[in-house]
Symmetry: C2
Subunit: 192 residues, 2 copies
Amino acid sequence: MTPERFARITSMLNHRQPDLTVFMEQVHMQHNLAAIVRTADAMGINNVHATWDIDSSRISRNVASGSQKWVNVHSHDTVQDAVAALREQGMQIIATNLSATAIDFREVDYTKPTAIMMGQEKFGISDEALALADQDVIIPMVGMCQSLNVSVASAIIMSEAQRQRQIAGMYGQTCRLPEEEQHRILFEGGHP
Amino acid sequence: MTPERFARITSMLNHRQPDLTVFMEQVHMQHNLAAIVRTADAMGINNVHATWDIDSSRISRNVASGSQKWVNVHSHDTVQDAVAALREQGMQIIATNLSATAIDFREVDYTKPTAIMMGQEKFGISDEALALADQDVIIPMVGMCQSLNVSVASAIIMSEAQRQRQIAGMYGQTCRLPEEEQHRILFEGGHP
Ligand SMILES: C[S@@+](CC[C@H](N)C(=O)[O-])C[C@H]1O[C@@H](n2cnc3c(N)ncnc32)[C@H](O)[C@@H]1O
Ligand SMILES: C[S@@+](CC[C@H](N)C(=O)[O-])C[C@H]1O[C@@H](n2cnc3c(N)ncnc32)[C@H](O)[C@@H]1O
């Protein structure tokens, strides 16, 4: 590995936010999945979670994991399984939902361990998933369209989380990933 | 027109920001164009500008204009023409550019009349266009990917502009569009 590449990977590792994640409930369009994983990487998010619908599962899984070898895509069979895994990590679960009771997404404290739940392109987040979340949030819209594209909505929220964590000094200090994972990534990144 | 629809359109009109726009230089993927126009509408942007590359012009124009009847898509033959039109409206021109000299996108004052220039998916903004802009900005990235998806990047910047303008009280007071345009939109919106 060249010294430049070593420095690049080390810097990336020092910015990773293991306690911030995105959970995609049955998001299935390839360009949306790819864009979400790409934005996650750029914002320092190294783990994302997903459930898949029956039809799109095979293609989608490949796209999402292939598009970004630097982000782990964790697949779950059910929403319940996914939420249980996130709870085990002490995460608050924030559901993006176009409802009248949702609060403005900027009111959430994203410096806490947080999972941002995104819904399916057509139907949004399921009632089951909503019932398991701690808080519904919405990105205010003042136009005539009913919703934003899912990769756009997730990026706007990830960017707010990044802004808050930047101010809180959570980026670039020391690596917050487990030591084994650091070593694995440095090793794999050096041998592409 | 029902009273509800009249109220909806009137509220939309009162949030429109005629002095904020996006200029897409040869962005050509249909899902990106559609997502950018949709986000613009949601953030109160009623005009976007574009130049097209030779191959994709016909399809792209239709997608962009068809996807959102509430946003005007202005086509220009050259970057020079587009910039001249924006300058005539007194706009500062902010180029999104992955360069070492670009400043953080949050440092810009978006309450001023502003055009946000977005680049082509593969090649980014042309040197010609960069030379015509007032300022380069970048969305900081801390991962391994080289860039964000163009619709994602534009949404993150539009959202910051919306945040600043919201604080400045530029939304929802009175309609800032020319009276003829208000009437046209109310008329057309009532007769779909
Ligand atoms: C196209 S939307 C789904 C629309 C669906 N008809 C609904 O009512 O939920 C896909 C996903 O994008 C996200 N989303 C879109 N617009 C949003 C907004 N304004 N605020 C928060 N999330 C949004 C949500 O995760 C949503 O489930
Ligand atoms: C996929 S990028 C183009 C990448 C191209 N190789 C380059 O170097 O510009 C497409 C467009 O998205 C926008 N973009 C992507 N990532 C960005 C970032 N981090 N900051 C600002 N704009 C970005 C810019 O408008 C860019 O021209």
